[in-house]
């Protein structure tokens, strides 16, 4: 597209200067989205390396590669990193980059909040990774059950870093969730009624609501843990009248909905990718949308199924078991809708499609082993064995890692402007797929044979050796597969062929604008006339008298929340360093607390508040309208 007068005017308004300050202070959702993706991907690599070290230790019976304590720290850091700092943030990264583009807006509702949540996400990860330097990383598994995590049994600082970094991450996650909720409800382009919203927006909206109501339980649990550890309270210690199950209740009240936070946006991506490559609208749009929302809702009613072995009343167990079964109905609806879409369409075998279909396969296997573990007697049998490890990885890798790769192969051309190599991509897919199944399927078997999870070694002669060897090899193959895709990315960045606005001929609004999109996303705010804006023959950009350019400032449209009728324009704030300053002082607060410098902590929290004031301060009368 030639640079028009309008476009250069908009660029003037929206562009971030290419200076250090510009880089640190940017509020552009595309820039921040990519940072989220890169940071979360780095956490995937870190967590992956940790898991490989775990696997090396388990290759043979009686290995001494890791000490028992080192092993505990390693698998804990692996689980925590993967669940909290990779799986959910990477999906936020996609959402931050894509949601405004998909709904025809120019940024998120609160761009500075977006910058703030990115920095706090990064700093919380850094906070977590300080502890290994004291050789005292968290070591109690990713769900950190008390009483093991109380000071009697875990005197080191590891569990403190666990609690503090999760509280900080909770602030970041909640901020991002609120941002998504308001954005998706208010910023959709005129005409994008709620019944025309892309399914990815549905799943992001659902999980954002889930986060708003689930995160506080984790925060409360972590606060109690910190208080018990250092301030002499008795929430969890039986002696003082506390209850160890309190931790489990709170943690799983948060934890199970969180599983859907990791899972739903990924299914949302698949619901966009499969139709695009089946060359037809998705089958059962309304069914998918509704089962997404119901999964989020019912997800709040199943947390006790993580605790079937603690002993509780039969009726409670039955209700929660039934709830867990209900959820699999909703997931099945989505899976069937995807299969029907492929069936009735004319599928194109691209890498992205490979990953999408591969993930469905693994999801089905993981879902089946999940139905088994949802049945109470089976759960009593396989609880804490490698069977559970197999189950969680089929679900997590099938419902998160593979869809994320599908998403990368689908949307990276939009982000970088260049195509990825299909050949390398498919190679990477097959290596990952085979590696994963070789590595994880045998875990079902050794789990049923009785190999416990979280045990740093096992004696010879139980018949575990052979399978463990296979598993370790599979894990490394999986790692190689991921590496191939990383190489593919760098090759594409250097010499990929130019993508153009819509390389896949897909239907969403994000494909309407250039690749990579200009700083202002859309020159004219698009109008939406159907569920598949780029497949209908309505001209979304038709705007003869330039009414929808909105170049009187950094502006975008505000619409009603159901019908998306335009009712106002929203101003978007400029770049600012203050979100960064604020999250730095917040990090400082947590660090000062950790080192027991309470006065400094107090000073830093006051500074955080002042930074917030400066961030919000109205600078000129001009802002009054």
């Amino acid at each position: 597209m030639a640079e028009t007068a309008v476009a250069s005017q908009l660029t003037e308004l929206w562009e971030t200067p290419k200076t250090l300050c510009g880089w640190l202070g940017t509020v552009d959702h595309k820039e921040l989205g990519i940072r989220y993706l890169v940071t979360a991907f780095l956490f995937l690599i870190v967590g992956g390396v940790e898991s490989l070290l775990v696997r090396i230790q388990l290759t043979h019976s009686n290995m001494n590669f890791l000490s028992p304590e080192g092993y505990n720290q390693m698998y804990t850091m692996h689980g925590v990193t993967m669940i909290f700092w990779y799986a959910a943030p990477i999906l936020s990264g996609f959402a931050i980059y894509l949601i405004p583009l998909m709904i025809g807006a120019r940024d998120l509702a609160f761009p500075r909040l977006n910058a703030f949540t990115y920095w706090t996400f990064l700093f919380s990860g850094i906070l977590l990774y300080i502890s290994p330097f004291f050789h005292q990383a968290p070591h109690a598994g990713w769900f950190a059950y008390v009483p093991y995590t109380l000071t009697e049994y875990s005197p080191g600082v590891g569990m403190d870093y666990y609690a503090l970094s999760l509280i900080l991450l909770g602030i970041s996650t909640t901020g991002a969730a609120i941002n998504f909720v308001v954005t998706i409800f208010r910023f959709r382009a005129p005409g994008m009624a709620i019944s025309r919203m892309p399914l990815f927006a549905y799943s992001t909206l659902t999980i954002s609501c889930v986060i708003v109501f689930a995160m506080p339980a984790l925060t409360a649990a972590c606060i109690f843990l910190e208080l018990d550890r250092h301030w002499g309270t008795h929430f969890f210690g039986i002696a003082g009248g506390g209850s160890t199950f309190l931790w489990q209740q709170l943690f799983w009240f948060f934890g199970h909905p969180w599983v859907y936070v990791i899972f739903l946006p990924a299914t949302g991506m698949i619901s966009l990718i499969i139709p695009a490559f089946s060359r037809r609208p998705v089958v059962g749009y309304a069914w998918i949308a509704i089962s997404t929302i119901l999964t989020g809702l019912v997800g709040f009613g199943v947390w006790l199924h993580h605790m079937f072995t603690v002993g509780m009343s039969d009726i409670a167990m039955s209700i929660f078991s039934a709830g867990s079964m209900t959820i699999s109905v909703f997931t099945s609806i989505q899976v069937l809708a995807w299969l029907a879409t492929i069936w009735k369409g004319r599928p194109v075998a691209t890498t992205s499609m490979y990953y999408a279909v591969g993930s469905v396969v693994m999801l089905v296997i993981g879902g089946l082993s999940g139905v088994f573990t949802g049945i109470i007697p089976v759960d009593w049998q396989v609880h804490n064995t490698y069977y559970v490890v197999a189950h969680i990885h089929y679900v997590l890798v099938g419902s998160n890692v593979f869809p994320v790769f599908a998403g990368f192969y689908f949307w990276l051309p939009k982000m970088t402007g260049r195509m990825m190599s299909e050949k390398l991509g498919k190679l990477s897919f097959w290596v990952m797929f085979i590696g994963f199944n070789v590595g994880f399927f045998p875990m079902h078997i050794i789990g049923l044979m009785g190999m416990p999870r979280r045990i740093f070694t096992y004696p010879a002669g139980l018949g575990f050796d052979k399978w463990n060897m296979v598993i370790t090899i599979g894990a490394f193959v999986l790692g190689v597969g991921i590496l191939i895709s990383i190489i593919n990315l760098f090759v594409s960045l250097r010499s990929g062929k130019l993508a153009g606005p819509n390389p896949w001929n897909a239907d969403g609004l994000e494909w309407l604008t250039d690749s990579p999109p200009p700083p202002y996303d859309f020159e004219h705010i698009p109008l939406v006339a159907s569920r598949h804006p780029l497949w209908d023959d309505y001209d979304n950009l038709d705007d003869p008298d330039d009414d929808r350019v909105l170049d009187g400032g950094r502006l975008t449209t505000i619409t009603t929340w159901l019908d998306a009728e335009p009712i106002g324009v929203a101003t978007i704030p400029e770049d600012s360093l203050l979100p960064l300053v604020m999250s730095l002082t917040l990090l400082g607060f947590f660090l000062a607390y950790q080192f027991h410098a309470l006065w400094i902590a107090l000073a830093l929290i006051i500074l955080t508040f002042l930074a917030g004031c400066a961030w919000m301060w109205p600078h000129t009368e001009k802002e009054v309208l």
Partner: protein
């Protein structure tokens, strides 16, 4: 890429509203603060849940002597009247009477400070028989009330920030209406105290009397 399997989907073009003439939207800030209130309310719900969870398997939930009732009700009166004052202040902002609304706001801050001072005195009077490390009842009692006090402080800071804003910043700064946002948050903080009084102070008195042993 090959063509579509089906003919194009149904289209209903949206009405062509002129965007240029639309007003600037200022409701986003309020919506975000409602979402914030939702998570904070859930945080308190978790705390209340913990209170009952810790108490439900104890014979007498450590309440041989339930907490005093005078303080919490005085505190309740203070908070409720502060809510009324700030509500009046909001009305003044709408009418453009910024002087009056500023006065209302600072008066609310005063009431909030009074609340904190009285709560300090209440703690002092309870401290003799109950501290956070007495038992789990003491832990959860002090955690809930202190968490609430922290929210009072946060609310006061927000109000003070608005109090220092120049007049023009009061009602209108897209996307926020700072005065309304701070006031909403303050109402929420007051509202939580109603629950605390009910659950932590009043109900234990009934339980003590209802106990037949």
């Amino acid at each position: 890429m090959s063509t579509l399997v089906e003919s194009p989907p149904v289209q209903i073009p949206p009405p062509r509203t002129k965007l240029r003439t639309l007003p600037i939207d200022q409701t986003r800030g309020i919506q975000a603060v409602y979402a914030l209130i939702c998570t904070e309310a859930t945080l308190f719900l978790c705390m209340f849940g913990a209170y009952y969870y810790l108490g439900n398997n104890k014979d007498r939930w450590a309440i041989e002597t339930p907490p005093e009732l005078v303080y919490p009700f005085v505190l309740l009166a203070i908070l409720l009247s502060s809510s009324a004052v700030i509500h009046w202040g909001e009305k003044q902002v709408e009418k453009g009477r910024y002087g009056a609304s500023r006065a209302a706001l600072w008066f609310t801050v005063l009431l909030g400070l009074l609340f904190l001072a009285l709560q300090g005195m209440e703690y002092a009077s309870e401290w003799g028989r109950l501290t956070p490390d007495t038992d789990s009842y003491g832990s959860i009692f002090y955690t809930i009330t202190t968490l609430h006090a922290a929210h009072v402080i946060a609310g006061l800071l927000l109000l003070a920030y608005v109090g220092f804003l120049p007049h023009y910043g009061f009602a209108r700064r897209s996307p926020h209406m700072p005065y309304q946002v701070a006031a909403r948050y303050w109402h929420f903080v007051d509202f939580v105290w109603v629950f605390i009084v009910g659950l932590l102070y009043v109900i234990p008195h009934f339980l003590v009397h209802g106990h037949v042993h």
